[in-house]
């Protein structure tokens, strides 16, 4: 187990390095940060001087190694746009994103699994077929349109829920949460629904497909032959086995909820790192963009680790080596 995790960590370091290299190469092409740093009146000589001071004229590899070296020490430089240290900026925005992502993930998982199981167990039921078809709307609409639509209906027309931001937040030391205030809770509803819809559909379909597969297995037939109750068969036998393959995909999907909140955060002006990234892209704020990508790589590594550990917990075949193989 330990060896396995260490192996994965080793691979992860490679992944992180690759991600930073790729992001670094990319940023050389996305635009000129100097243009957005200087004022309308700045002369060309002034711009050139700034470029020199920022080290933008150094050879590529030097810039990269400097970046990696600083990143290892947790220093991602100063945001060109907001002039504050990037690490601090990201840490201050992280709670918002994580709270939104976790809420969405919870919605997606709970509804995804419940609906997936329901539609799998009632394959020919017209209501289940309706859920299946309706769920496709979640993947047939661009996120921004869903978000704007929800704002229009629930914030502007009905005025039930706030249209932007995360309401009043409570400072718990280094973590600012919106879960402890009424406005905070009300504010998270629309963005969380918007963000979860896509993953909900995916998880629901995945659970359904896997469940149907599991229900065809011999051990389910054998469980029926043992006279077990329907509940025991469907939930303790079939569902548990369904969840094993669902963990991987769902894990990766949840990772992309955290990292994919770009559009949702922008539409709802949710003060997370996704909207931070998009505002940074607009002005080529390279330090923030680089740090964000590193963060995404980091999330990937963490999620993968969690998925691997969950696998160990859920599946005894991995946890306990077989004493006998074959017949």
């Amino acid at each position: 187990m330990l060896a396995f995790i260490l192996t994965r960590l080793g691979q992860s370091v490679l992944v992180m390095l690759a991600v930073s290299l790729i992001s670094f190469i990319m940023f050389r092409y996305v635009g000129d940060p100097v243009a957005s740093l200087v004022s309308q009146e700045a002369s060309i000589a002034d711009q050139e001087q700034l470029r020199e001071r920022l080290g933008l004229n150094d050879p590529f590899y030097e810039q990269f190694f400097r970046f990696v070296w600083n990143a290892i020490q947790g220093n991602f430089g100063i945001s060109y746009r907001l002039q504050t240290p990037v690490a601090e900026l990201i840490m201050s925005r992280l709670p918002a994103t994580i709270e939104l992502a976790m809420t969405s993930a919870l919605i997606a998982l709970v509804f995804g699994i419940v609906l997936g199981v329901f539609t799998a167990l009632n394959r020919k039921n017209p209501f289940a077929a309706g859920i299946m078809a309706f769920s496709l709307i979640g993947v047939s609409l661009p996120t921004f349109l869903i978000g704007i639509g929800l704002i229009y209906v629930f914030a502007v027309e009905l005025q039930w829920l706030p249209s932007f931001g995360r309401g009043a937040v409570v400072d718990l030391g280094w973590w600012r949460t919106g879960f402890l205030t009424e406005t905070g809770l009300r504010s998270i509803i629309l963005p969380a629904i918007t963000l979860s819809l896509f993953q909900l559909t995916l998880i629901m379909r995945l659970v359904r497909a896997e469940m149907l597969e599991v229900l065809r297995q011999d051990y389910i037939k054998f469980a029926r032959a043992r006279g077990l109750s329907k509940r025991a068969i469907n939930f303790s036998h079939a569902l548990k086995n369904t969840l094993v393959p669902v963990i991987t995909i769902a894990g990766l999907q949840l990772g992309s909820i955290i990292t994919g909140a770009l559009i949702t955060e922008t539409v709802f002006q949710w003060p997370g790192i996704g909207s931070l990234f998009l505002s940074s892209v607009a002005v080529v704020d390279v330090p923030v963009m680089a740090a964000y990508l590193i963060f995404v790589g980091f999330v990937f590594v963490i999620i993968n680790l969690i998925v691997d550990i969950l696998y160990y917990v859920v599946d005894p075949r991995l946890r306990i080596g077989g004493t006998a193989k074959g017949h």
């Binding site: 990319m26 092409y29 635009g31 709307i137 661009p142 065809r216 990292t259 770009l262 990937f300």
Partner: protein, 312 residues
Amino acid sequence: MTDITPSAPKGRIGKIIDSDVFYSYRTSPVAIIASIIATILVLGALFAPWIAPYDPFNPRTLNLMNGFTPPMSESFTGNFFLFGSDHQGRDVFSAILYGSRVSLMVGLSAIMFAMVLGVSLGLIAGYRGGLTDTVIMRIADVQLSFPSILIALLIFGVARGIIPPSQQESMAIFVLIFAIGLSDWAQFARTVRGTTMVEKQKDYVSAARILGVKPIFILIRHILPNVVGPVLVIATIGLALAIIAEATLSFLGVGVPPTQPSLGTLIRIGQQFLFSGEWWILFYPAVTLILLALSVNLLGDWLRDALNPRLR
């Protein structure tokens, strides 16, 4: 179970009509409706120059004063716009027809690109195994955990930096295809790798290897035909996703030029007028996009079940 001797009618068409897939199509009203809608939209896009009353991509024919004409009413210059006109005086109906064309073109090309890339890498990873497999699948995993929009955005940014500015607009559509395609290959690779790993263990592959058939030919001639089913399903659903990704990228301001809008660009433009009362500029393109994506998704859904022999 016993194989039932089919009393199937002969002849190619007869065989198709009699096939299980077609049977499942005939008995699925959802699939029929979805395919009718998809066909109408695809034909509309394909024959846009003949169907569309105006050419919205030709700026010379536009009159700015026709802007914001409501649906079914007469414009400043006396033109009639079925779905109204947008802020540039473009006929929304014609723009939708031409826009679907762009969207479908981008979506189809992107998914083809993703398919070719993903299938090739998946075949190689699955067949070679070992380090090759680890590297390719690790990249695919990383790729999957990065939001595709983010990847497309970065590629778009890089392309902006590499391509000379004067060619950027003409290249934009290719960059878009590349960007969306590149963010979509991993799904194909994963599935194909899995199937390949199963197929390569089968004895028909061994039989070919005994003869000294080169791996590349084994992959192409033997294994590839056996992965077509799942690939087709992913491609269909991927097509819907690609069309939506294009729309999202347009929303973020990267995408095709506004003078040659796709459905996504039309929606991006239209959503500016959501509060100002010109609802038709958003409404019709959005409905078209939803219908297109939904019908393609429903078809993919049906295809998945139809091609799964165990669900029949």
